[in-house]
């Protein structure tokens, strides 16, 4: 973990393109992707993940039209706007899906009284 990460951040999932942290102090999930840094509530995080999941990457891959070269996504209640190429959509998907699984694992552990290491 890099030293400039706040102490309240817990790593949820990491790929070589980005990291998802959870901050229990602010009840936010933090998405680090390339050099961006976006804080989202659990609800907005889930909604953004669904936005990324439902991008039609088949069309992006097959279409020669310029408008299908990139996908523009804005996480809910956020100033940021991601302009993503096909590869970036796939990388972001991988990161968000991994984070989703870890959050689900945490939920399951909590349901039986355990917790992921602090």
């Amino acid at each position: 973990m890099t030293s400039n990460v706040p102490v309240t951040y817990q790593e949820v999932f990491r790929t070589d393109r980005g990291v998802v942290y959870q901050c229990d102090a602010s009840n936010r999930l933090i998405l680090e992707f390339w050099d961006t840094h976006t804080q989202l509530s659990a609800r907005d995080f889930a909604q953004f993940r669904r936005m990324v999941e439902t991008v039609d990457i088949r069309q992006m891959a097959l279409s020669t039209a310029a408008e299908h070269d990139v996908e523009i996504l804005t996480p809910p209640r956020s100033e940021r706007c991601y302009v993503l190429t096909l590869c970036e959509v796939v990388h972001l998907r991988e990161l968000l899906t991994g984070a989703k699984l870890m959050l689900e694992l945490n939920a399951m552990l909590r349901e039986c009284g355990c917790t992921l290491s602090e």
């Binding site: 817990q10 949820v12 959870q22 229990d24 009840n27 999930l29 509530s41 659990a42 609800r43 889930a46 909604q47 959050l103 945490n106 939920a107 909590r110 917790t115 992921l116 602090e118």
Partner: protein, 176 residues
Amino acid sequence: MKDLARLRTSVKESVELALNQQIQMEMISSSKYLAMAGWCDRNGLDYSAGFFYKQSEEERKHGMKLFHYLCDQGGTAYSPEIPAVSQEFDSLRSVFEGALDQEIAVSDSINRIIGICRRENDYATEELLKWYVREQVEEEYIARRCLELIDQIPADQVYYLDKKLASVTYDGNPFE
């Protein structure tokens, strides 16, 4: 680590998704029944028209019940997209056949969602959906009974048939 999603809502994402689909389905039912009511109305079948106007309202209420439930539990309910529905029908029989088809599709959908609730251990939502299970038993019964009457009543007694159809109720409902 906190479970942020659980703090926000008791409804899991898969259940939320399924309930939103069900909201849409109820609203589509409402729209279909309204089209059926309109067709009956302009073909002089006033009683059947009244029956479908009422059904249309009921379906909207079914959707709203789920909408409020999701909101109250901290979930996200979406106002659904309603695709175009058919406005024309070949006969009164085909109207009621369409109604039965729709009710069967709704029953199947409710059963599928209860399966999801069980997988997710969401007994609260399952409890709510039991109301829909009972409702569907009644709705399917009524649609089938109407089709029987259409078979039984001679085709030239349109006024009598129309009146009779609108009066069908499920008297011996074992769930009541």
